[in-house]
Amino acid sequence: MSEHRRHRHNKKAGGKSFVILPIIFFIGIFTVLYVALAPTFDPLASAVGTLFSDAEKDYSTSYKNIFVPVIEETTVSAETDKKGESSETPQKTVDVEEVEFPNYGNQFGDIRIPGCGVDCPLFLGDGDIALRNGAGIYYGSGIPGYGKTILVAGHNNTFFNGLKNAEPGQEIYVRTSYGNFVYTVRETAVVEALDVTAYDLAADEESLILYTCYPFDEIGLTTKRFFVYADFTSGVVIDKDAE
């Protein structure tokens, strides 16, 4: 290669470097800074979002905790013998007036499945704050002791990741400020998220349904959910007629 051609080649390569390298490094440094500063940007983005929304939004990150554990002895068996009478000690009954019914967003208990490694706070409401801090009961379902379907959501990469180990027969322990409850896993299922037949929120029998996104280790939006169905085994009885 002649001196003249080498000089032209170097000049051409140098020109590319002056354009491509700064762009590449700009993108690289910008993205690294974005990742580092994203927590600072989020509140600003939220503030900008309010300008385009006519609804009052809640950007708080705190929640009210009304959970005061009840001593274990207050949980008694709900099983009855053939004569319809209690086979063990009489069921512990709690007057409805003594129950502080939680408001949306309150932590009012905790949930534990020893066989799955699930152990986290339990909220009423399954909004962002609740799911960041534990498992959340859908506000349109029931809460323990009220004889309804209790639908509980949890993130698959945090508190409900352990649901992948759920098996029939495992016990689920729920503690609340007004009493403790035990449910037994009946079955698990993978269901489409929009399948409204996967749950019955009008049922007048108490049961617990836990769910999380499926597959478990997938990042991003998924169309399927992993459901764990559990039957009521024991717990305090809320006396709804007490006034």
Partner: protein
């Protein structure tokens, strides 16, 4: 002796006041409202209902208050007006209503909340109606829709299928996904830069 009696009486009063009594479940007035919410509306000849989860949200709210008969009567009157209003739209579901009809329905929802000093708002971004009690606590949040009792999901304000917000997105949160994507892009950009420099020097 008199002083001791006064002190004992004061202590007794304090002890009594410490015992908490909360809203006593669902009273008769609240039950009337719940029963009304469970009845159907004729939409183009089809019986349409509020999803069960919506009625449950109302029940959960009623568990935190003691509604008076007067409040319930006012609420019932507005709910019945709202049903007549829905039937008069001639629409198949709320999604099919005109903008003006939807606004009129929203005004009715606000009136339903008035007897208990609650508020109602609609968020265009989430397409959900949020109701709050007099303390500002959320008591209802869902897409405005009606369902036939055929096991099929309803439709939101844009006509898209919705379960009314029952099942949530419980995968990695959107923030986590964004962070992973941005982090991967940064890594590729830096690796590309290093490759370019090494190749040039070589």
């Amino acid at each position: 002796m008199k002083k001791v009696s006064v002190i004992l009486a004061a202590l007794l009063l304090v002890a009594v006041s410490v015992v908490s009594a909360f809203a006593a479940g669902i009273n008769d007035s609240e039950q009337k409202v719940l029963d009304e919410l469970k009845t159907s509306v004729k939409m183009q000849g089809t019986d349409m209902y509020l999803p069960d989860s919506y009625v449950n949200q109302a029940e959960n709210y009623f568990n935190t208050i003691d509604m008076t008969a007067g409040q319930a009567d006012q609420m019932l009157a507005v709910i019945k007006d709202g049903k007549a209003q829905l039937e008069a739209t001639g629409a198949k579901n709320i999604a099919d209503c005109t903008f003006a009809q939807k606004q009129a329905l929203m005004d009715t929802i606000k009136k339903v909340m008035a007897p208990v000093n609650g508020t109602a708002s609609y968020d265009k971004s989430t397409k959900e109606v949020t109701l709050k009690d007099e303390k500002g606590e959320v008591i209802f949040k869902a897409a405005p829709t009606l369902v036939a009792k055929d096991g099929k999901p309803g439709v939101d304000a844009d006509g898209k299928k919705t379960d009314g917000g029952v099942i949530k997105t419980t995968g990695a949160s959107a923030n986590t996904t964004a962070m992973v994507v941005v982090g991967a892009a940064a890594l590729i950009a830096i690796a590309g830069g290093v490759f370019f420099v090494v190749k040039k020097r070589g």
